[in-house]
């Protein structure tokens, strides 16, 4: 007991230490212009944005189609879809690892432990999420727009474009939700990317590494940087969206 009281006075509130020193480090990191940090940030953004965009290219049209279409078992499909949102990123990472492994069916491509593998894994990760959210929006509110489009003579493709434009705010929120899921996850990229310094290390894998090395303040600093980046991406995306025609 005595010992513990002693150590308390010696190191007053280590948490506050860690948090504040983390934030100070975050500032220093940003202005340090450390090339490795910038590489990591750019790689993170590249991987997650690519994954979300690729996923959206598939999910938006397909989610719209699914939401508008009437077919037997639609309810079951939707439940399956919502359930598959819960696939842990570790499992996705693992399955992609097995597929891309040198002995796996796509091993000849030599993609394992490259950013491409990370993009693939994250694409798979965010797809159920994007699809589920899109599907829900359209199932509930898409029919009206579809009908109006059809009445005015639009074909299937034009209806999809019309719906994307009418629900652009929702779609943007879905996009940002997917992006947030991708950029914040660590399980899948860690497994298929391998957290290789200079090649596949991204922000979350760095954070995980720093954490396991006990460098809590640096981990928090990088977390703060990630939040900042995310805020920036959000702002840019919404500003762009407002000027959409």
């Amino acid at each position: 007991m005595r010992m513990e009281g002693h150590s308390l006075t010696q190191q007053p509130r280590p948490m506050m230490n860690e948090l504040t020193s983390g934030l100070i480090k975050a500032l220093k990191l940003i202005i340090s212009l450390d090339p490795e940090l910038y590489q990591i940030i750019i790689r993170s953004l590249f991987v997650s944005l690519s994954a979300v965009i690729i996923s959206a290219l598939f999910c938006f049209p397909f989610g719209i189609w699914l939401g508008l279409k009437k077919f037997k078992g639609k309810q079951f499909v939707s439940r399956l879809l919502y359930a598959s949102m819960s696939t842990p990123s570790v499992v996705i990472g693992l399955v992609i690892l097995l597929i891309l492994s040198r002995k796996g069916p796509l091993g000849f491509l030599g993609l394992l432990y490259t950013p491409a593998a990370m993009v693939i894994a994250q694409t798979v990760l965010v797809t159920p999420l994007l699809l589920g959210l899109t599907y829900n929006t359209i199932k509930q509110r898409g029919h009206q727009v579809q009908n109006e489009g059809l009445l005015l003579g639009a074909d299937s493709f034009q209806v999809i474009i019309l719906i994307i434009r009418e629900f652009k705010i929702d779609f943007l929120v879905h996009l940002m939700t997917g992006f947030s899921r991708a950029i914040s996850e660590v399980g899948a990229v860690m497994i298929v990317g391998g957290n290789i310094k200079g090649t596949t290390r991204v922000m979350t894998t760095s954070i995980a590494l720093m954490n396991s090395m006990g460098e809590y303040d640096r981990a928090i600093a990088l977390g703060a940087v990630l939040l900042l980046i995310s805020l920036l991406v959000n702002s840019i995306v919404y500003r762009e969206a407002e000027t959409w025609k």
């Binding site: 009206q144 059809l150 009445l151 003579g153």
Partner: protein, 204 residues
């Protein structure tokens, strides 16, 4: 466009809404469609327009079942029209745009409708902020812009001021003469129906 309805049966959860043995809308006429609330007028228009597909029976357009080429020539203003979240101008422009009409021509046509319907003051306003009557006018202009040969109007002048409604009737008449199109016009206003329509059909 001529429309023939044969043995149409439409139900919502067991409840029969429409049961029409045979009905015929001749080419080039203006038909008033009248009936109590809930009689099924809007449902009938949706079926004719092709957006409601869940029914028994047959609808023939110029003697044929609905084809894509027909769809392009059917225009409808539904009872609760949905205007796109864009400006009034862009709303009316939309059917022209998807028909790939060139920009200058589009502007000409749209401006024409804006003038006729007295909508010039609000042409830049976002369509989801319009008043009830303004919205109906825009929806009508948008439907007309596609130059339909069969025009389905579901209580389109219900929220429009009397004088303006008369003006719109005149415009529709002239459009009708020009295009030789068929117009099916749902209304609860008997005076208007007598004044405007060549013949009236009561349902249920």
């Amino acid at each position: 466009m001529e429309v023939r309805i044969q043995k149409l049966l439409k139900k919502y959860n067991q409840k029969t809404i429409l049961d029409i043995l045979d009905m015929h809308f001749k080419e080039g006429t203006i038909i008033g469609l009248l009936g109590d609330n809930g009689a099924g007028k809007s449902t009938l228009l949706k079926i004719i327009s092709g957006i409601e597909k869940d029914y028994e029976g047959q609808i023939l357009y110029n003697g044929y079942p609905l084809k894509d080429c027909h769809k392009q020539r059917i225009g409808m203003v539904s009872q609760k029209p949905y205007l796109f979240k864009r400006s009034v101008f862009e709303n009316i422009e939309y059917p022209l745009k998807i028909r790939k009409i060139e920009k200058k021509k589009r502007k000409e046509i749209v401006d024409g409708y804006l003038r006729e319907m007295n909508l010039e003051a609000i042409k830049g306003q976002r369509a989801d902020t319009l008043s009830g009557g303004e919205a109906q006018k825009v929806a009508l202009a948008r439907a007309l812009a596609a130059a339909p040969k069969l025009l389905l109007l579901d209580e389109t002048t219900a929220n429009i001021h009397e004088e303006a409604a008369c003006a719109i009737e005149t415009q529709l008449k002239s459009y009708h003469e020009q295009m030789g199109c068929t117009i099916i016009f749902v209304t609860h206003n008997l005076t208007q129906a007598e004044r405007f329509c060549d013949e009236c059909v009561w349902i249920k």
